[in-house]
Symmetry: C2
Subunit: 298 residues, 2 copies
DNA sequence: GTTCCGCATGAATCGATAG
DNA sequence: ACTATCGATTCATGCGGAA
């Protein structure tokens, strides 16, 4: 059932259960783990949906292996958010952090991803959820962090970004609804470079592109810049559509991806192979009629 | 040692330990608790500095009383952030949430306060901390929430729509006095505001230069709007310089404040009394030279 | 070649209804 | 009583077609 595929000398992907596949890897061999595991009760059609009560027990064997394969100077960044259920937020994320510390992890920091376009909706007892956690774990206090790599040359960035915006987009971005974008731009224009904070402002990626992903490419890109150099190894044990790997490759890092869902394995194989994009496009056109199969991949 | 002071019929302040003072209040009598307790090891000069290891044990007797005095429809909003120590974030906030749920609290939601101008600084292993938690607890699932009170303008959505009305449309609509156009406008006005999310973008600076506070007035104001109506009762068991009380009073709510630090008790007494502002200003001018005393009040 | 408008669509959540 | 499914709610975003 398990499969391996070497896309090129820098990229390996694996089909199978992460907690088993990870045993294949040597100790202290990975510089960065960046992943967004299936959230509790989500993605039932692909991952089966892990019940909140079982979530910590389900995840801990995997983090145990991640702790082993990570280099002492490496970092594990976990993108996760607890769901609301019966009027309360679930507690499995907090419990996971406490248990991982017992495993030997250091809980170094918690970054906030502010999602400018969060899921809509209205409820009597809560507002829309516009943020997710990016929890940083380390093996030792002496981890590699390349802060200069994520300094923002915001003058030029803001100019190019604004130049490409239509008026309507500009109006949208200046909208005061929870964004604060306009304020930031004016700040950036003043200085050439500044260190960022632990709050990231990114929009979720829209689904109408070729690759649907749970997070925008900017998210793994930022952490890959911050915690790795060229030729370092990045690992995503729940690669999904392969966003983390695609970004790592583009940035000259080695990458390893694992997923238990065959459709994702095939999708990433196509996406990252030299001629894969063409294959994927052709495949997609065929699938336009096969709506059932299309849905199973989502 | 304990003292009480009735500033007016809407405002009582108490000098003393919250876990004792709170025993004086009847069950189910408070609509909103909003507070920012001293963070672990912070404000040593005033509160003595609670060690992170003892923080949960120190706080739980107080939350037990808060649970008793809160109305079943009331809400408890806790502004807190874990400090970093020995390269790690402390875990006392997570442990506190888990213990409070054992006390009977519901953990309804966690809002993020994004501090737009956060404290400056640079460290080799972390970026500036630009966010704090605002943790919402409730006694029951049926709590009061006045969402319309905090709706935010939807940017220029309405403007762009109006701009796109052709002249003929405008004339036509204007000719139907009171019917067509007015009705349309009123429809738009409904859509002119949007519900906010659970991420708040506020500066750290406080508006009132005379009073230093841990948070800007907008912070308690937002939650007082959201969770109380006029004449409801708001309580701050760590009132500090009295920002929560001042805002509550200005908004026509009753307020109760407690603090163990005599300097804060006196400061709030002056700040909220009819002639207190004048007294405070005079006092402050004297204190300009007494830098030591000034610091002790922060 | 731009800019603009219409439209579909999400890591969602609650309450009601159905088995 | 308890779980499973469904409809209603809502708004930032990118794409495609039109001006």
């Amino acid at each position: 059932m398990n499969q391996t595929y070497r896309i090129d000398t820098n990229t390996d992907i694996y089909l199978g259960d992460s907690k088993e596949i990870l045993r294949l890897f040597p100790d202290n061999s990975v510089d960065l783990v960046f992943t967004s595991p299936p959230y509790a009760d989500q993605r039932k059609n692909t991952y089966g949906g892990i019940h909140p009560d079982n979530y910590v027990a389900w995840f801990l064997p995997i983090t145990e292996q991640l702790l082993r394969v990570l280099k002492p100077t490496g970092t594990f960044v976990l993108n996760i958010k607890e769901k609301a259920m019966a009027g309360e937020r679930c507690t499995y994320v907090m419990e996971l952090i406490l248990e991982m510390r017992r495993q030997g992890w250091l809980w170094t920091e918690e970054f906030i991803w502010h999602k400018k376009n969060c899921y809509p909706g209205k409820w009597p007892n809560r507002f829309r959820d516009a943020w997710e956690r990016l929890i940083q774990f380390n093996k030792t206090r002496k981890f590699n962090m390349y802060q200069e790599a994520v300094m923002v040359p915001m003058g030029s960035w803001a100019e190019t970004r604004l130049r490409n915006l239509s008026d309507t987009d500009r109006i949208r971005d200046n909208s005061r609804v929870g964004s604060g974008f306009a304020k930031n731009v004016s700040n950036w224009l003043k200085r050439e470079k500044a260190y960022p904070t632990n709050v990231l402002h990114l929009a979720t990626e829209c689904n109408n592109k070729n690759h649907s992903a749970a997070f925008p490419e900017e998210l793994p890109e930022w952490f890959i810049k911050l915690f790795t150099q060229e030729n370092d190894v990045a690992l995503d044990p729940f690669m999904g559509s392969g966003t983390t790997l695609a970004v790592a490759n583009r940035m000259g890092r080695k990458s390893i991806g694992i997923d238990i869902v065959p459709e994702y394995f095939d999708m990433v194989k196509c996406r990252l192979s030299p001629d894969g994009q063409l294959m994927l496009d052709m495949k997609r056109e065929n699938e336009q009629t096969e709506s059932e199969r299309y849905l199973s991949v989502r």
